[in-house]
């Protein structure tokens, strides 16, 4: 495994699209980061309860009108920095306005998300 200045960084990835999770996971690992992945709010909250990540990338719309808001709230309480990742800026508007965090429109190449996560620390 490659080592880098981010070796001690753990990233929570939340996205309802398995292929996007896969790509991000590999890109983050190649950059020397540790990852935990979730495709639902419940799973993400359970992972956070088990171990608090250092940073997170949250897909805003998780299908069927569900958003990442509860996860974003929890991370905010814990003081964990995160970025929002969304393909629908209109519908995500409410969530985006509530959290003053970087927003990356979908599609953004995975390597740029790595850069964005690094910038959080």
């Amino acid at each position: 495994m490659k080592q880098s200045q981010c070796a001690d960084m753990m990233v929570l990835l939340l996205d309802d699209e398995a292929l996007v999770l896969w790509d991000l996971e590999e890109e983050m690992r190649d950059a020397g980061m540790e990852t935990i992945t979730a495709s639902s709010v419940d799973r993400a909250l359970a992972l956070i309860a088990h171990r608090v990540p250092d940073v997170a990338i949250l897909d805003v719309n998780l299908g069927a009108g569900v958003t990442c808001e509860p996860v974003a709230d929890r991370l905010s309480e814990l003081g964990v920095p995160f970025v929002l990742h969304s393909g629908d800026l209109n519908r995500s508007g409410e969530v985006i306005r509530r959290f003053d965090v970087p927003l990356l429109p979908k599609p953004t190449p995975a390597y740029r998300l790595v850069e964005a996560v690094r910038a959080l620390r």
Partner: protein
Amino acid sequence: MVEETDQVHRAYDDSPQRFRDNNAEDKFSGANGVLFEQAMSQTRMAVCLSDPNAPDAPIVFANRAFLELTGYSEQEVIGRNCRFLQGPATDPEKVALVRESLAAEKVVVVELLNYRKDGSSFWNALHLGPIYDDSGKLLYFFGSQWNVSEVHAARAEEAYAKALSRELSHRMKNMFSVIGAIVNITGRAQGMQEEARTINDRIQALGRAYEPTLDEASLGSIEAGQAIRSVLAPYDPEGQRIRYSGNVVRVDPNVVSTLGLTFHELATNAIKYGALSNDSGVVEIEWEPIVATDGQNGRLKIVWTERGGPPVTHASGNSGSGQGIMTKLMALSQGNVTYDWQPDGLVVTVTAPTFLEQVKF
């Protein structure tokens, strides 16, 4: 026989006169009364008056247009409270609003779903307001109703089209996101990460080129300036290094993929070797339509000018794949691309054939 609907030639509507005869004490008398009579019988606006001083505020007058709109006869209408026009799908909140306004003697304008005698429904733009006599006593409630069903249908259709194009835009972005993931995953698995990234950047540029077009997909054409800005946005996150000028001009959707890839390659090249490779260089992009004699077909001419980059040599202008792609694409679409390595920076002129639709202000 043709049904006569012309207002002027219509049979005389005597309902206003009968109303006046029955309400001799009110102010619809003398010259005012004649005016009232003529106006009520001629207007295509359905009008009724109700008496708030009688039990359950019955309708005391309804003009011909009201009867035509609702399908009821005068006998069926007079003496009834106008709630008989409501039906199963009438919004109770709006009815409550009407009731409150009447109680407060306020003017109210609402759109209500109302029902005709035959059970069919129509959207009624209802205007209600109090009419007072000289002493300020409440005499009647005036109600005018206008059938706005068509307006409603058009509005609903427009809202539906908007929602649909938003959904489409969202899905397309997600699809490009997933395509990007597949390319990356495959590239990594095959040990070709760099190649995968190049492919991915091109695909994503293509996605961005089509992005601004979806909101107005129904127009069938694409605003060239928006497409160019969208493609180049990631290369100038602060919005300081790339300048755009050109009028609003709509072009063929199929020009967009060519333009998308062309400007992606130009930007990639500028970041590696040109004006975007240092901290101070800028790129100016100007576009103008060149209209052919038939006024429809023509060419879109776009000039890409780099300034303030590192000193230019012919060799620094990437003779590799980027330029090859642009030249090939333009040749295949019967367009043209020329490169001019000026001392100040690279100048590229692209002309692409397209139909043109200029928006004049």
